[in-house]
Symmetry: C2
Subunit: 419 residues, 2 copies
């Protein structure tokens, strides 16, 4: 059994609406544990940790309202980092271990995606090799939903709810004029199409949109696309298409790299897939008065906590809570996973997955769930998605505007202050 | 006093989240009036009316849930139209009067912005001249908040709430990495900056964003802009700027028309102000690792009913309700207006404004409410804005996804069916 000491949590990767629900769960469990003296946080992930930017969370979270607010605050409250530890960089891992010992940290938690799990995996191995009684546990997070071993990832359900809701609303908007219109909405997901697939849930509202769904798992065929749009326009006045930012041609080139998506300043536009599709329609679909529009959800889809899924926030909280529980029970080199027991009623169980089986891997949409020549998703996909967006979490508001919890990130602590 | 007959309502202009709350109020009052036999709706505004695309709303709204759902459904449920009746086109007005008589319509309501009020104004004049006992009343609607005589317009509060909430969330998103970043968010408003000004409410959440606010009421000065951004970056790591799509240079040219905003296909991009500002920063602000991003809220800002303001929906409903009340009391050639009695507590009164004083006019942001050399708004503006975004209306949801009410727009009725 591990000894009494401090715990430290850090966050990494891209933002989500639910990422702070996870650390809230971890903090709550940590502050309630007899094995944990102080709950510390590293600012800006592993990068900040290496710079000893460490704050004492136990000192900064005082009321139950603080916990409630943190759950509903989007985007890493502890900051993130793009820093990745170089491969087999024993020196850096040695430095990490030194800082852990300086601050008497016995429990280390990293909240992030595939890359972050790789970091935890390597750290755990180094700790074991060095004979340290320090455990390292991963807490999953990504709107991309591409982590292995877990049924789905914290953060995905809220992003999916935002996407489905917004697509339904946008479709109503495109329908108000009696004119033909093709609206193309670009959705995040470089290699995995889960979030774009979630746009299919917009149809649960009774609307026909999206009419076509393009995922990065299938090579994009421009000719087939133009034909599909033309055929659809013969029977539908307004068409809404969702497309993953990561669409690729059969030669492997990203659509956004095909040159057409270079902006007027000669540099590549961020996520230009929708713009390329819009150009394809403009150039090849001959229809009078046809209105085309490319819309990018941009970073809103990962930050719109006001549209969060309650199911997602609850599960995210549980993943953090259970990570601490597992760690104080001596577990290391694992990530908390969500296993689905049943779709209807929706029941999940929390498990532990070996980090080496998760690190650096990407779970893509199964090809059997992609239908109609790569333009739609199957009923299995909808059954999978439906429970994840249920429940309205909203934000905590005051006078109609959101309230957030923010740490004082500049109030760093020194080792002797938390001994 | 006008006689018993049918009422007809139509919608025009651009979409909003609250536009259907207004027709719900009108429909509810109409169905409850002893002077009104059937509540009819024209599909796609005046254009559809002239094509006799008329449906019987009384037949299509059956349950109290239908009314609840319609209130929360964004974008013209009856469709819109860009058609504007040619000036002094007696023939068209004659045709309109003929259709009104054919369908025994004694009460005509048009739900829209400045252009729509011009149409109602002219129609009312023609009706009077022709000696018809038919009244025409306007119901205000626009997210631009640019109608004269009314304190604010239905639809504005919800769009303002969406803008302020999303800006706050986006700012948190930009802060996660410890790198300098300039994010520019473009907001609708071609000539009036009200909605862009509403971004200032994001600061009520305790965040410093937006750091700079650019409205179309003030000539945009590129040099001053670059200087402002440079100065700000000396003390703030991440900056968020909001800019109206209608920004103009001192020569009157739209920023989006300056060529820089032409897209790679040689045609003007829709709403390119943010892109031009981003280029200005990229080209003129010298800072290592500076990340720039231009975001357009696009049509989401006018369709995001999931973020609607309850105050806005209630007032929108009241405007429709009172328009019918005024009409059955013989009023014509007026629009329902909202008069503010008090800011705190927030109290409004509904009035009637003469259409000739509203038609084709645009109420802009007073220059005295624009501060800091055209980069911010005053406390008066905040006092004005605050009550408009209060209350969370949300949407009616089922399994976490919105439910909408949709009319069967193809079920047109013939005159003898509603006599």
């Amino acid at each position: 059994m591990t000894k009494i000491g401090n715990m430290l949590i850090a966050q990494s990767g891209g933002p989500s609406s639910a990422i702070n629900a996870s650390i809230t769960g971890a903090i709550a469990r940590g502050m309630g544990s007899t094995k944990i003296r102080n709950v510390l946080g590293a600012v800006n992930g592993m990068q900040g940790f290496l710079d000893r930017k460490i704050i004492n969370i136990s000192d900064q979270m005082k009321t139950s309202e603080d916990f409630e607010l943190l759950i509903h605050t989007p985007a890493h409250a502890l900051g993130s980092s793009r820093y990745k530890i170089p491969k087999d960089d024993a020196e850096t891992y040695g430095k990490i271990i030194q800082i852990l010992k300086d601050y008497d940290i016995k429990y280390f938690f990293y909240n992030g995606g595939n890359d972050s799990m790789d970091t935890v995996n390597k750290l755990a191995a180094y700790l074991k090799k060095a004979g340290e009684d320090i455990v390292a546990v991963g807490i999953p997070k990504t709107i991309d939903n591409d982590l292995e071993l877990t049924d789905h990832t914290p953060g995905f359900g809220s992003a999916a709810r935002y996407v489905a809701t917004s697509i339904a609303e946008l479709y109503l908007d495109t329908c108000v004029y009696p004119l033909p219109a093709v609206t193309i909405v670009e959705i995040m997901g470089r290699n995995a199409g889960w979030l774009t697939a979630a746009s299919a849930l917009a149809r649960e509202t009774g609307l026909p949109a999206p009419h076509l769904i393009y995922l990065p798992e299938v090579d994009f065929d421009p000719e087939a696309f133009v034909k599909e749009v033309g055929t659809l326009l013969e029977r539908e006045k307004q068409i809404l298409i969702t497309a993953s930012e990561g669409l690729r041609l059969s030669d492997g080139k990203y659509l956004s790299d095909t040159g057409a998506a270079e902006d007027m300043f000669g540099h590549k536009t961020l996520g230009g897939a929708a713009t390329v599709l819009e150009k394809l329609v403009k150039d090849n679909v001959d229809m009078p008065k046809l209105k085309t529009r490319a819309i990018q959800f941009s970073t809103l889809q990962r930050a719109a906590a006001h549209c969060a899924s309650l199911t997602d926030l609850e599960e995210s909280y549980q993943c953090g809570y259970r990570a601490v529980e597992a760690a104080v029970n001596g577990k290391t080199d694992i990530m908390i996973t969500i296993a689905r027991i049943s779709d209807i009623p929706y029941v999940v169980r929390y498990d532990e997955g070996k980090l080496e089986e998760i690190a650096n891997k990407e779970k893509k949409v199964p090809l059997s769930w992609i239908t109609k020549g790569g333009t739609d998703v199957s009923e299995e996909m909808l059954v999978y998605l439906r429970p994840l967006v249920t429940g309205e979490a909203g934000e905590i508001t005051r006078e109609g505007l959101p309230k957030f919890f923010r740490f004082n990130l500049s109030k760093v602590v020194l080792p002797w202050e938390v001994k």
